[in-house]
């Protein structure tokens, strides 16, 4: 059964087009990773699908309804988002922050029902953060904080969870911890996980389905065997990759890689080095304006 897909999706800021005519199906009850180089539109795609930014044309369909037309609170019962590096929680305790995830189920003043409290405790338990329940979120380490934000998304009790680079700023052990937690949520509870990942090998190891983007268009979408391949990576990242097998998980992995030398790539590189910094800032400003609404 397909619950979530996009159709000829166009996303952009002003005249700048970021994602072009993108049609993709997100497989249900699987872990999907979106990969691609900086500025390829992967975060933008995630933001549009989770209605944080509007799309220009095309459609994002969830359960047969366009998300642009759906009630936002109703959507919050179906999908949760962990934005990229959520900022400080302004003095909230862990329990308080996670309780905010119950908003879509609350009526009136937002008093917590016994059911709410049960779900919050479960979310804290599942993410291993119950011990910090009454501590201030700001006082936690990066890895603990990330798990608390995941707990807040879990408290929403949604079948789909989106994460934008959930491992950024974490050390290797904490990265693995977060990804294993997500995998567990997928295998044990059948939740659909969609995340933007930077690390190819993490994507290969934890995702069932990978969408590789370049310049706002899909280069390849498929299983990790289909996507983590020399020719695909060459197209997506301009790298010449040596693909092997992870000796422990038997998943494909990129063992080593070189930049592809040549005139066209040099041109590309020059373009990205000079242009990317500016466009990224510009884009972030525009994103702020966009999402301010």
């Amino acid at each position: 059964m397909v619950r979530l897909y996009t159709e000829d999706l166009n996303i952009g800021y002003g005249d700048r087009s970021i994602v072009k005519d993108l049609s993709v199906v997100i497989p249900d009850r699987q872990v999907t990773a979106i990969i691609g180089s900086n500025g390829c539109g992967k975060s933008t795609l995630l933001k549009a699908v989770t209605r944080i930014i509007p799309h220009q044309s095309g459609a994002i369909m969830l359960d047969g309804m366009s998300i642009a037309k759906e009630n936002t609170k109703l959507l919050a019962k179906k999908m949760a988002i962990l934005p990229q590096t959520p900022e400080s929680a302004s003095g909230l305790t862990v329990g308080e922050l996670v309780s905010y995830g119950r908003y879509p189920y609350q009526k009136g003043m937002g008093r917590l029902t016994p059911k709410d409290i049960e779900v919050i405790d479960w979310a804290l338990e599942a993410t291993g953060t119950i011990a910090f329940k009454h501590r201030s979120v700001d006082a936690l380490s990066g890895g603990q904080r990330q798990r608390v934000w995941i707990a807040m998304a879990l408290a929403q009790e949604t079948e789909i969870i989106f994460l934008d680079e959930p491992t950024t700023y974490l050390d290797m052990a904490h990265q693995l911890e977060v990804l294993e937690l997500l995998k567990k949520l997928n295998t044990e509870q059948g939740r659909t996980i969609v995340m933007v990942l930077h690390d190819l090998n993490q994507a290969a190891r934890f995702a069932d389905y990978i969408i590789a983007l370049k310049d706002g268009e899909i280069v390849k979408a498929g299983t990790n065997e289909e996507v983590i391949r020399r020719d695909v990576l060459k197209q997506v990242f301009n790298i010449d990759a040596e693909i092997g097998r992870d000796p422990r998980t038997d998943k494909p992995m990129c063992i080593t890689y070189n930049l592809i030398k040549g005139e066209s790539v040099e041109h590309e590189k020059g373009h990205s080095a000079a242009d990317l910094g500016a466009t990224r800032t510009e884009r972030m400003q525009q994103q702020q304006q966009q999402s301010a609404g």
Partner: protein, 336 residues
């Protein structure tokens, strides 16, 4: 999910503030230009006072106490909302042009409409209210875009710009005016509680009676608007419409207060801030505490201000600023 210790703090804070308000009310009833001894308060309240005692208590002191208390509360709740939707601890009703907008409207009305002073006193709150609303509307129009709705940072910047421009307008307006009129306007700007009569109270009570419970009802949205936008959208807050509704509520509350008290700054800044320091950032708890702090604080400022200089006293706005300005500096220093 709320720690029992926080709930306890909340209960203590609320109890203490109510006690402080009662003490200040009683103290204020016995203080003033005309003598009404504390021993005569209870008999007068029970209806056994002389005509003079009853007049002083019911027509002079009590209206002033009630209006001051209510205005302080309205400003504090307004400040709580504005700090929530702009995600800026330094926001207060002044930044959406309430004080300056109402001030210009009062000045224009007072200087250019040849009306009989007796009747138009009752029109002034309406004029101030309209002025505040028009200004807030203009600031909103300049800081919102059709594409992405209200932008908090732009709102703060536009608001500050407007306040400055309108202050300039005020100077131009009053520099050419007669002395007696300038006196009234400058006292209004200084926050001299002047709407001290029962009709003024009946005029602002409905606003508070509706908008304060409404704000508490919206407390959980305010909590979420204080987090990042993607987070608020993710849990299903319709941020565009919630922001507009809450902004209108904040403007209405502050405009109601300012229309009877004149320009009073800092209450809307300090009260929410102190409340959050005591009970934490959740608005379900911080708004009621801020409300009590704001009411008590303005009442205290006015009660003291009335005593210190004969015969008119120091305007409450000046008293508040005397305490508020250092607090503001402290906040700025702490942030940097």
């Amino acid at each position: 999910m709320i720690h029992p210790a926080v709930i306890r703090k909340y209960r203590i804070a609320v109890g203490l503030l109510i006690a402080l308000i009662l003490v200040t009310v009683v103290a204020g009833m016995g203080m003033g230009y005309s003598k009404l001894s504390y021993g005569r308060l209870i008999p007068t309240l029970l209806g056994h006072g002389t005509f003079k005692e009853e007049f002083v208590l019911y027509s002079v002191r009590l209206p002033r106490i009630v209006i001051t208390l209510l205005s302080g509360m309205a400003l504090a709740v307004s400040g709580s909302i504005l700090q929530g939707i702009t995600r800026n601890d330094l926001a207060d009703p002044g930044i959406v042009g309430i004080n300056s907008g109402a001030g210009v409207a009062i000045a224009v009305f007072f200087l250019f409409l040849p009306l009989d002073p007796g009747t138009f006193v009752y029109l002034l709150p309406a004029v101030a209210f309209a002025g505040a609303f028009v200004t807030a509307g203009l600031i909103y129009a300049f800081s919102a875009s059709r594409h992405s709705g209200l932008q908090p940072v732009k709102l703060v910047l536009t608001g500050v710009g407007f306040s400055m421009a309108l202050s300039g307008v005020m100077i131009v307006l009053i520099s050419s005016a007669e002395r007696s009129k300038v006196d009234f306007i400058s006292r209004w700007l200084a926050g001299n509680i002047w709407g001290t009569d029962w009709p003024f109270i009946w005029a602002i009570v409905p606003w508070l009676a509706i908008l304060i419970p409404f704000t508490l009802y919206k407390a959980n949205r305010l909590n979420l608007l204080g987090l990042s936008e993607p987070t608020a959208v993710g849990v299903g807050v319709a941020i565009r419409s919630e922001r507009i509704v809450l902004l209108v509520v904040a403007v209405a509350l502050a405009a109601a207060a300012v229309s009877v008290t004149g320009g009073i700054a800092f209450i809307g800044l300090m009260a929410p801030h102190i409340a959050k320091a005591i009970v934490g950032p959740r608005h379900q708890l911080s708004v009621p505490v801020a409300l009590l702090i704001g009411g008590w604080f303005l009442l205290l400022a006015d009660t003291i201000g009335r005593q210190v200089v004969d015969p008119d006293g120091i305007p409450a706005g000046v008293m508040v600023a005397l305490i508020g300005a250092p607090y503001f500096m402290y906040l700025l220093l702490k942030r940097s």
